[in-house]
Symmetry: C2
């Protein structure tokens, strides 16, 4: 029962906390290539769409009702709603909604969903302070760099151990971003990171419950408060991240310091961020992508006789559910994913509604799918052959699914994804204006315009 | 650098989260012996005095200024001050102040300071809901039982690993206490514990900074919010504490489940709570106690020629500083502790002020102290011989210091400690009434009276 694992402390770590504090405070505004700048806009846009989309999910309602007990001041918007709460709780709730559909972004090297903690904290605080779009983009790039570098430092051991790495590194990312937004100096940025280091959030055991999306939300809130406290003179250890009894050595058994220090300020981890095209586990994405491509080639639910998939064994191990009974089970069914990919040409959260999973044409189509394990096929690939009722065959081979780093979603794809979530909540016209505002955020004089667009009209 | 420690998961843990949830929701009100009931009052009183005492410390000011950025609703008192903030942030700040002097309570089996997270969350929430004193005492006993049992389950490995166990178990204790206070049913109490399990707080690396007392404060706040969210239907894993990727197996390498389940509901960990008589590390307490006793036997700074101490080696290893230059260094000097014990008959936070540590008579007296290592003397003991200027010798042997479980502080001792911190802030008269209100808390119709007494008068 008790496992006594003696762990040797590393007494000679570099001054990670101070190095990151100096980076947060001193890196030049916009000090990165144009591609990084654009990726920051894509990350922000994708995050905002997810937050708006889940604004009325049960988890958002429950969190908001709990927050309302505090009678919060109306400082910052709950995105996609007319409600306003204090800046810390806006960070909390927007962090929750942005991750509720499991449809946000992924730093593929670490499986961190980096925007949730960072953007949720930054936008709420920026609304309060009236920050410019430039300041927001700077804070997002720097905050995500901090959280993902800490993730690289500890991955995979920290994740394997059971930490939900999005929340555990997210508090530090959010603190870094908010320290930057507040214009804290190096010393106070170090303190912000130090205060945040004591508040890692997130256990993998929570997957499948509302506490999973709580992780980025709670990380956003704790990081934001850490920066505010540091600004007021609250103190922490200057070695809080790397000391023998500091963050890294307490929450991980691997800590490769060079992942933090290497190319700091010249390589930006936001460059490696990817966006989910489908609202389900990444292992099904190649199969859905293949079906979307078959649809474009004229295959329909009506003319399809049988669909043969050759997939890696992991696909059936994780998502082999043949007869899903509801939306949640649908997320674990490659058969359902293929059916909606073929019928609707997409697999957004809408396609995982309970009544879609049980709809006659969807059920009939998924029963035509025959998946066969072939481990010569890579995890990231699929080979699909549709046999039509007239005997013709249509073949698609997907080497890398849409949404991978090799085949990233285009800006237009991201807009379509955004609209798919936002149109029903904000209306198509406002959604269109919001998209335009996202693409030009870095030049915006104040973020308050974008927040106003992203809030539902007051009744 | 990277240490790859493979840890075998325990797949067969008992249903700890559900067992604790049922205990929290269902254990009868006041369902414990009179001694437990009295200890709960002592724990509450001691906690309240510490929180009032540090109300104007720099850490309290910094935290309060950060919280004021949120424009909090005036729902609950910041103890010892006229300020009022929302209930979650009142829990935060009172948790910080109660631990700022390092003068609070200690569950000696685990080194947990249990009152900070639990009482800070409970009193703030109770003020908002208008709870009775009975409900508060019930919540305190149950919350402290949960946090200390989880501590027993993981101690010492969890602490050795680097977690500040007060904060890491404190979130769960505070959640349990608040779930009880809100009257959540078993299912929702399980959810409250589950939500809290994802939010452990506290690294030992922070010792010596303001983030150390942040730990019980942040734990109180997170636990309180977890209970509020659970009440509103927010969900978490029903096995959040014990699952392979749950709390215990993620934050500790030892987890003795029987420490949670054994005698649950009949043995109460609050019975093993102790209160610090001196505002410094526990290893100096026997020496200070000896000096207080010598003073009572007529030894004074004037008639003392030389004081010989025989102490365990740990005393000089941890607190061997001969010439402390300020209050903080004074906490690491057995010589200073002895000097103020002899001169003032006490060693409260006042005796660790910078100007006391450098005062002429104190410096002269500490230089008369000669400490010799003798490992036949237990850590908890000291042998002291005062040689007077007239040649007489006075001998005191302390086997267990005041404040230990063997020689607990009396109720009168606790009152004196409380007054020593509170008189200067609330005034002697109000302090006296507050003490009386503490002793009768379990019978109080509302906690709002005690809160009003513990708040500084409005200007």
């Amino acid at each position: 029962m008790a496992i006594n694992t003696k762990i040797e402390a590393d007494q000679n770590a570099p001054a990670i906390t101070q190095i990151l504090g100096a980076f947060v405070a001193q890196h030049p505004s916009g000090g990165w290539p144009a591609e990084v700048e654009h990726e920051a806009h894509r990350t922000f846009l994708n995050w905002l769409g997810c937050a708006v989309g889940a604004a009325h999910h049960e988890a958002a309602w429950a969190a908001l009702r709990a927050v309302q007990v505090l009678e919060p001041a109306p400082q910052a918007a709950v995105l996609g709603r007319a409600d306003r709460v204090d800046v810390a709780n806006a960070a909390l709730i927007n962090g929750i909604t942005s991750h509720t559909f499991d449809f946000d972004d992924t730093h593929l090297k670490t499986i961190i969903h980096p925007a949730g903690p960072v953007c949720s904290a930054v936008l709420a605080l920026a609304e309060l302070t009236g920050a410019t779009g430039r300041q927001v983009i700077d804070a997002v790039v720097i905050g995500i760099d901090v959280s993902c570098r800490l993730g690289n430092m500890m991955y995979p051991h920290h994740y394997d151990r059971g930490w939900h790495i999005t929340g555990s590194t997210g508090t530090l990312g959010a603190a870094a971003a908010c320290a930057r937004l507040l214009g804290l100096d190096t010393e106070k940025s170090i303190m912000a990171l130090g205060i945040a280091a004591s508040q890692p959030v997130g256990l993998r055991e929570q997957f499948g419950t509302m506490t999973k999306p709580l992780h980025p939300g709670a990380a956003a809130k704790a990081g934001l408060m850490s920066a505010l406290m540091a600004r007021e003179g609250f103190t922490a250890s200057r070695r809080a991240i790397e000391a023998p009894r500091g963050f890294a050595q307490v929450v991980s058994t691997k800590y490769d310091w060079s992942e933090v220090t290497g190319e700091l300020g010249s390589r930006f981890e936001i460059s490696f961020n990817a966006y989910k095209p489908f609202a389900c586990g990444i292992v099904i994405h190649p199969s859905i992508d293949a079906c979307v491509q078959l649809r474009a080639k004229g295959v329909t639910a009506d003319n399809l006789e049988r669909l043969d998939l050759r997939v890696h064994s992991l696909v059936l191990e994780l998502t082999g559910k043949k007869e899903p009974a509801d939306g949640l089970q649908g997320k674990f069914s490659v058969y359902h994913g293929c059916a909606v990919g073929l019928i609707e040409g997409r697999a957004t959260e809408d396609e995982y509604a309970d009544d879609v999973v049980t709809r006659g044409d969807v059920v009939a189509t998924r029963r035509k799918v025959v998946a066969t394990i072939d481990d010569s096929i890579d995890e990231a690939a699929v080979d699909a052959v549709a046999t039509l009722k007239d005997g013709r065959q249509v073949h698609v081979f997907v080497e890398h699914a849409i949404g991978s780093l090799e085949r990233p979603m285009s800006d237009a794809d991201l807009e379509a994804k955004f609209s798919g979530m936002s149109d029903a909540i904000l209306g198509a016209d406002r959604t269109r204006r919001l998209l335009d505002a996202c693409w030009t955020l870095g030049a915006a004089g104040s973020v308050r315009d974008i927040v106003a667009l992203a809030s539902a009209a007051r009744p």
